[in-house]
Symmetry: C2
Subunit: 499 residues, 2 copies
Amino acid sequence: MKLTVKDMDIATGGVRVVLLNEKDAEKLDLHHNDRVEVRKGKRKTTAVLDIAESSKAVKLGAIGLFEEVLDDLNVKHNDKVEISTGKKPVSVAYIKKKLDGVELNYPETLKIVEDIVNDNLTNIELTSYIAANYVHGMSLKEIIDSTKAMTITGSQIKLKDKLIADVHGIGGVPGNRTTPIVVSILAAAGLKVPKTSSRAITSPSGTADTMDLFCNVGVSIPKLKKILNKAGGFLAWGGAEEINLAPADDKIIQIEHPLEIDAEGQMIASIMAKKASVSATHLLLEISIGKNAKVPTKKEAERLKWYFSKVGKSIGMKITYFIDDGSQPVGNGIGPALEARDVVWLLTNHEKAPKDLCRKSLEMAAQMLEFTGKAGKKQGIKTATEILESGKAYQKFVEIITAQDGKELKPEQIPLGKHTYTVKAPKTGKIKHVDNKITTKIGRMAGAPRDHGSGVYLHVHKRAKVKKGDPLFTIYSQNKEELGYAKEGAKKFKLMEIK
Amino acid sequence: MKLTVKDMDIATGGVRVVLLNEKDAEKLDLHHNDRVEVRKGKRKTTAVLDIAESSKAVKLGAIGLFEEVLDDLNVKHNDKVEISTGKKPVSVAYIKKKLDGVELNYPETLKIVEDIVNDNLTNIELTSYIAANYVHGMSLKEIIDSTKAMTITGSQIKLKDKLIADVHGIGGVPGNRTTPIVVSILAAAGLKVPKTSSRAITSPSGTADTMDLFCNVGVSIPKLKKILNKAGGFLAWGGAEEINLAPADDKIIQIEHPLEIDAEGQMIASIMAKKASVSATHLLLEISIGKNAKVPTKKEAERLKWYFSKVGKSIGMKITYFIDDGSQPVGNGIGPALEARDVVWLLTNHEKAPKDLCRKSLEMAAQMLEFTGKAGKKQGIKTATEILESGKAYQKFVEIITAQDGKELKPEQIPLGKHTYTVKAPKTGKIKHVDNKITTKIGRMAGAPRDHGSGVYLHVHKRAKVKKGDPLFTIYSQNKEELGYAKEGAKKFKLMEIK
């Protein structure tokens, strides 16, 4: 059937879509969400059918094409195209299999992941896959297969070194910006640390958001390789267009996020795929345990460790675990710029450096130095502390950000939101609890991570003694209205409890 | 935030959607698929956010509105609207619960079904619900709750009679057009039979498609009530806009269809909701068992019977089961018009009436007459046969279709596809197998049910003896090209096997 193209002037940013008039669809015996093949000369593409209910949108004999299809066929408004029934991707049958509780094999998983990356699946199909994995769970073999499939369907930074170090934290704890510090110490100690991080989705900042303050986090892969060989490390955003590690993860998160689910198997595969993508051989995995953290109990942490180790073994990656208390935020600044300032204070041995963040970063670096043999048994902490206190870590940090088109920033040069509000202690006592979820909520209400200068600064932590009137925390916002929202939030929800 | 309306000129036909420029979405901390509240004066509505990747589609400061949102707010191109963060429907939390394997209670199921009917859920959310029901299964209580919820969220034909008869067949068997015959016999016997049927989704014809040949199947509910009181029955399409029984079903099928799943609990709830919607008190449920039918084994039929009876009991509906062989098509005509012709031949006691369809229709009617007390024990078949052979059933059928704005049609007045092709027996022997799936496939290739005159006419059935050169089946098509496709199909796939 020949149809006249209507340029719909929209990019779906996902699966290819075409629109047909209801009557034409009926004539072709096509239903909503069926696949159709669209052809122009020798070019052809497969798209998903959407049926226009009013002929206002698409007239009889016309076909509405979205940007992706226009590009595939190289056609424009009023061109003629041919259409016929298209085939569903074979991966839909594998998704059906998983829905039915059957374990998938590697070629099946790979095909599904390829189709996710290439936008060949509708939201219905992709959601079914994610829901099936969530409900049935993924077997260890499926997690390993998925790790491999997610790795090879994205960019890879292939390195031949025998020892490539990487660190990863399983989040849910606000602040906790150990990565720039640990990477700087490890690189200064002579390790190669090709660190890619993510942006915040539901938190007030991700490492990539904090690094935005210092440098360009979307550096090309050839340039990253050069930086790694010269400086020993980099601090990049894995999801940047220039880098694009394990892109299936982003598409999966787009489905998981609105449902507020985080399927365990999928999470393990995503993390491990990103580490495999940078050729990591040694990984330090930090797991924070706490009521409002991602991992609520020790038992859950143990199960995760078992899975990570098995996956690591199968792809030739050694893992050491750093288990820490995740019951309260780590560091004082929460939000991209406030965390960036903590990082600089810490790396420059300033008295305002948060002690908890310092302790944690040193211990993580120490463990990794021992794990990789860069420090002898029980010597890690000494080596790490020496590197930090001597200024070598800071020097390394400056070297890395300079290589990533950035420059050194003094703590006072880091731009913070100019609208502030400080909450003071209503009574004298001891801080009993600092809430992760509420800190996150108020930080986001103030505008973080979108407005890098917005966030929350904690003047005290759990177990600190305070007098009535002492400052507890300060909200920073770039926007007066949002400061108001965050202030109201701080009145409504208890960020800190005093006993 | 104030934004300028861009009329996108598209109706989604489902959930309300708005499009924002990527930068505006970031400014508002909004993600793809988040809910937003859109306001104009006192009018407001909640929609799902789609993010335009190119500013060509939606410029900074603009908002693309689809038809449903334009209508809700009564705004037009270039008007100004306000937007803010919207709330997710509470039913999304219930869907999450079901994903986690928790049994839902009635208020939760009702809220989900309401949100399905009102297009408040995205495909991601709706698919998660369906996948969760499919994987975890639905408990009996959930099926009953869902039946009730689907009933009250649609139109209802409320009747106060003590005895309202209804029939339903669990399909998968081509032809099998017993409904118009059984309804005519039952109504002629004095029963009230408010019969609503569906259209074909994957088969060559549904009862509503066949009834199209005779009358208007989309009659208003007040008029249907009048017809029922006068003629004792009607034969309508439950999904017609004027009728709209259990509309949640259609939306669920739109998700299930592309995945090729048919969740058992959902199917039971859908069927029972449609029967409850017409106030049925006595239901004859026909289950055809056969390899390529919906119910493949006797064991499965037994399980279904258990569920249906329990649901029936809880909503005050008595059910009798008619279990039949579903291993081959029933009747000779397959396709709307060919089946319509069989129906007229049968009701007028013509020699060309298919014997299997006649036997089955009489047995079904007989069972229902006994079940409702309209015939004594073992007297059903006598009564039904007398009604059919005397012409009373046909008279009733004509009365019903006339009331539904139709008129009597002689078999030769029923328009069949003028392009035909007859497949002949390649050898002498006995018919060993007539395949349901292939009959369906070839009927649809020929253009059924879209082209009412297209389909397949079976000259013989299983166990018939044929001589070489005898006609086996004839393909009818309204379209020469499609006859060609169906012919090729008939060469490629074996519709009948001779031994």
